[in-house]
Symmetry: D3
């Protein structure tokens, strides 16, 4: 970068420390890594979720590393954006393998960090958890899933975004009873999938039940079900109501309000979590960028919670 | 239909039983009929509500007959789409008569079924209830109305969508005290209409009161007021907040959240209901199709509740 | 106006008394004045808030002076639209001075009225309160601020919409401890601004705290902190969640639901308030006009509360 | 209007003479009258064309009475907005009669003026021309129609917006051979309507033919076909391509570019014209207000041409 | 289908013969077949082109089989919708094979017909032409391509929508010199692709050149270059300007106006054509449905031209 | 930048040389500099033109340095993005001074280059040309302006975007007769501004005149009027028709088609030009990003023309 006179600069600023100033690109021992997976080719419905990693990064000039609701300054937290995974344009199987290898590399390279991943469609969760198991073959893994759907479809149409949980359970990487899905609602899971959930022993906490339990109690209950070594959290933004998140491939009414999702993640984030992903945000059909911003808000709520936990 | 080789088909599917697969078109003894009324010519404000019956049908490839929140499989429920009413393009009075005759036919032809109607603007409720009274002249009819507005305007501008309740009360088809309107809020009913409500004895439960009572209690209270033989439910989707339902002709802030509407309908749907209509959804000014989807969600929540009641 | 035959008119109507019929333009002793400030040039981010005063006026054909939730008829209330302030197209300092002089004139001319102002960006609050202080130099002034942001930035970039509270506190027009900000949330105030709030003694009630206290208790608590003679309320509509208010320059997730804002204003409006402003609504980026309508709804909720207080 | 200090005003201005400043409301001998007909109830497809008269008026703060392309100052031209016709909310026949009476009044009251009408859907043309014939029973009337459609449907569905030309021809108010329709294109007129055009002798100049003739020659040709006393021009904005005019009820590709429409109207406007209407603009489904603005541009191009003709 | 009384029907109609009434589903010897390929998984950029076959079908209620510009009644033409190809949700190679087999079946089953295909992304052209070659191994095939892009990318990312022409040339199914691409413009083909076009001998007629030649001459020139037995036409709707076709995955300014595309297809359609496809229309990001409608208009212009040719 | 394994990268690519790969950031002797001015505070109407420099940069991943229409490879051309000018958030006068100083620096630092500037609103042209005059005090400067407006307003409202040409002429930096404005049309310049143009001797070539002359002849004519040493080109994107450029603060119908603008710039760009700016693009109100893309297309057309000129 050449030196320029003070009246020339690259980017206007209002003087605050913004996420874009705070994010790291070359930290060897970050508290957390952020890996992008610009991949939407395994989505059953048409999806632009491949655009989300960069859309997420573009929100960083409007967020600061300070969480007002809980007065948490997470600027000491070191978050390192390690870039996007290289993928294949048409070969889904190969792309899934490339993600798995990338995740293996990240786990080995940054072995003390939290692994956060920015999807992408929900099919990415399977290779990511598979890599986690390969890296920790003797550890048991539990999954907290926040989702409108069960993602327990069979593989007749390949490893679509409707299959990741079934993949992991059928491959015995995760036990069915070590999966807790919070948030399903409405008319978006066929009876055959309900039966699959029962067959595999996956725990389903419908949204209505979550609301009657309360969010803290729901999280406590979910963790009580997970007698495991490592916990992986997967957040499908389509768990949100379409009024809050129109920018997902299969947006539905009757979903969570965004503040409920934020509260869930603030509770979950104060626990020991090994990895987390955020999937199925489609910036191309968003309205007023609200879904992209809600996903970013959810992400930083989780990070703030991790910071709080580290402080205590 | 000619036979085609297996690699040619009419419609992609993900293998689930969807509403489009489950709906019936030629059942003589269905649990419920579904009649479309593509009519918006009596709407005071410009309205594309005539587009809703088909917009509703197009949602059927994304809904399944299984309600996750309450784990209700309503696939045994038999719902028969009997088509749309033929209407006149410019003669409102004639169109209203055509609806009334169609409803008479439906009541006689499917005499054991629940009658569901998909509007259309709110003016359709008057001919539909009039037909119900003609078919059951000795029965008393009560109305549960979910609406931002009272619909008690006078007839100086004809039988607009602002008049159906007044029509029915003035014609003594329904007693004013047998109408309970849940959900009015804000600044959308002039004082003269408040006075009309008082004059006719119509029960108004403003949204704020509904929230302080609770939804179950509100429904119980509403039914306690209705000492009648038959109950007709009319759902004006403009009762929803504009953030959840921008696609109505007169969308307002300060309305119900969609989950409140769904809860109301789940409570109401577990009771003996003779007929229900859904009106004033304008797909032409919807955002992200969210209003159309919310109305469909409301409809199937009611059906799921009916199924639950049948099971018990 | 020339006389015309009865079949020619200027505006279609449905016969109800609407705000447009009820508003006054030439009342010398109104209960409240309404002053427009079509000014957005001090906004840090690009803003069309200068379009709001007229956008607000255009909502008046769909609102009536009757508040159904509380059954309050505020048609006896006399609200006088006294027009917009003349401003300079490029000189921000001069425009701020013009606003201050206009407010001085209004306070003197209508000395018994409530002063309501329709912005405009948030920078207008400083000259408005400055005028109030000039008119009442011996009175102490307290501020209730409903806002996502603290507006405590320094003046290195001039008197932007990020600075009004700091201007007033630094000029000793208002004590820091006489400012209560309800609603901040999320990641939109840098740590340096938190520190500024602490330095000046400004009270911050984050949204999460407001929700755990309850709205009535929050308002009671806020007023208990304000041992002052005059209370000025400033409502930055960006306090609302982006799902309810996409039409603000810096819309965020995680904000208030509009019904919470309405409840706050109904509580606040039942107290003695000297002046109120509504700022930062950008009609140019609104979706389905929902933000403009929500701001209008908020405004009339406050007026209804004032009417209720006058009646008691 | 009360007198106010100079720093208070009702409307920001940039100092130019705008249409809103130039328009007259009470001129007894204007060059032209402007009558609004906020009516869309006879539209076959859902239409918000009733919103256009006011949407048209709202463009007046961005247009000036000076036409740069031809350097025509039409500020001396006196255009008088005489308001909107009072209509019935549900009775189409009655509303059409009300329009006819209003037009009769206008013709008598302003007997030397050009009569311009702002619709509304295309059904309004029939009562307007009917009134013209009643006022001038011995005069022959010719119609220049700019339209994608023929509007020659039969009356089985009443006097819809698809019927006005057929009404006038069947009632012998206008001879079929005295109608010239410029602009039909594509796939939007069924063969039966082509046959009707042939039957009645209506002249059809498809868009492709207009383009190969050239605009001046097309207009000259059209006028050569009209051996009549009075000429009525009707402009259905749906003659424009959907890229230029998405805000019409049945927008189509393959239509005119807006500059072609403007050139047509500039040619036509330099001739003796008795009356003109602009119909089928739906502001509710417009994109970026472009259709409303194009219709306003077309209107003022015609006025500029009239001024040019008056000057010569 | 059960018999219903005349006042009940499935679909409102205005009485005209519409495409939806005219289209055939079970004709054994149609003039043309229509095959849908709801496939977008090989698109380099995110694409909802898989939604187009059904979006195309939904336009059929607003088009008639009569082309006004040329007064062509193509209702005698027999067009048979033979449905969509069954595809695999994640395996691109398998899906391409499924398309090829479907096309083989269609060619054999309907051996005298014109084959029209509705995509889908542009990758579908390769398997379709491959099938044509398999069915006619001794015939030479020429391609008229209307496209902004060359589609000559290499296969390092698989058989993407950027590769179909290269696939066909490299497999010697079509000679490079038997490909004429009309319409490339702007900055959307890298120099390496220009070099590839030169290497393979593909003829490029940039849009600017087409405009200086004229459309008839361009088409005559293109056909003069194609000394082949069978001609395949492929229409990538992204050849249109973004103002006319915002609903494509990579919309660009500087493209064709839609009337130019229609004229091209009217010229081409009067020649002997074996097959045609329309690709890369993404209904999910369309504005006012204008791209979908433009593609349908293009399709029927071609059909009208075929009818004209049959008549002569 | 740390070294990463090959499967991790920062940005997906399709392998082509894109503008983002070709652009330079630290070239000392570029053919052209690109300076961003994210400034919209002097715009009379609300404007987000401050967002354009970065919106322009974001288009660089979809454009290549090869212009197909004219087969020009401009990859040898060296274009250096030197960043954005630092501005003041509220002081317009100061910001204009900062731009002028930045331009002085650029002219001195890169004294052999073409100076391109990306606005911002049109007020930026005055300080830019002022700097050019300061750097070359003995040279005469001519301006080619492509604009719907004259920008000859007086300074009663300060140095708004309606004033730059008047500023330069009144300060005698540019003679009125050395300004040629191509493209004004319609009703957007008041008579007083026409008179100002005549007073200063500014040449106005309305769009209609440009079309009758032809683009090459118009450009030749414009240059024949400019007997000057240096030529500055200013492109106000609002010269385009609203169908092509909805994303400008005052979009109008009746403007240029984008291909006309591109042709103008291709002609102009083959001449000796000292500097060029592109102003008044508002990405916040764009539709489908089409205005941003059109402005980028215009920019690169000009660069391609410069390359062609350098080659010859």
């Amino acid at each position: 970068m050449i030196v320029r006179p003070s009246f020339l600069w690259q980017q206007q600023t209002d003087g605050d420390l913004k996420i874009k100033d705070w994010i790291r690109y070359d930290d060897d021992t970050p508290h957390a890594t952020m890996l992008g997976i610009p991949f939407a080719r395994a989505s059953i419905s048409a999806s632009g979720a491949s655009e989300f990693p960069n859309a997420f990064r573009r929100t960083w000039d409007s967020f600061t590393p300070y969480y007002v609701d809980e007065m948490i300054d997470f600027s000491p937290y070191r978050l390192c954006d390690i870039g996007d995974v290289l993928l294949h344009a048409t070969d889904v199987t190969k792309s899934h393998a490339m993600m798995e290898e990338a995740m293996m590399y990240v786990i080995e390279r940054y072995d003390k960090s939290l692994y956060t991943t920015i999807g992408g469609d929900h099919s990415i969760t399977a290779p990511l958890v598979r890599a986690l198991k390969r890296a920790h073959p003797t550890k048991t893994i539990g999954i907290i899933q926040l989702d409108t759907h069960f993602d327990l479809r069979d593989f007749s149409q390949g490893r679509t975004n409707g299959t990741p949980i079934r993949q992991l359970v059928e491959e015995d990487i995760v036990k069915g009873r070590h999966v807790v899905n919070i948030g399903p609602h409405g008319f978006y899971n066929a009876k055959s999938l309900i039966e699959a959930a029962q067959h595999y022993g996956v725990h389903i906490i419908p949204l209505k039940q979550m609301r009657s339990l309360g969010i803290k109690q729901t999280v406590a209950h979910a963790f009580s079900l997970l007698d495991v070594d490592l916990i992986y959290v997967t957040v499908d933004i389509d768990v949100l109501d379409i009024a809050y998140a129109p920018g997902v491939p299969a947006a539905t009414p009757g979903g969570m309000r965004s503040n409920e999702l934020f509260s869930l993640l603030f509770e979950i984030g104060q626990r020991d979590i090994t990895a987390i992903d955020f999937v199925c945000i489609d910036p191309l059909r968003d309205v007023a960028n609200m879904t992209v911003k809600a996903a970013a808000y959810a992400y930083f709520t989780f990070i703030a919670a991790q910071q709080k936990r580290d402080m205590e």
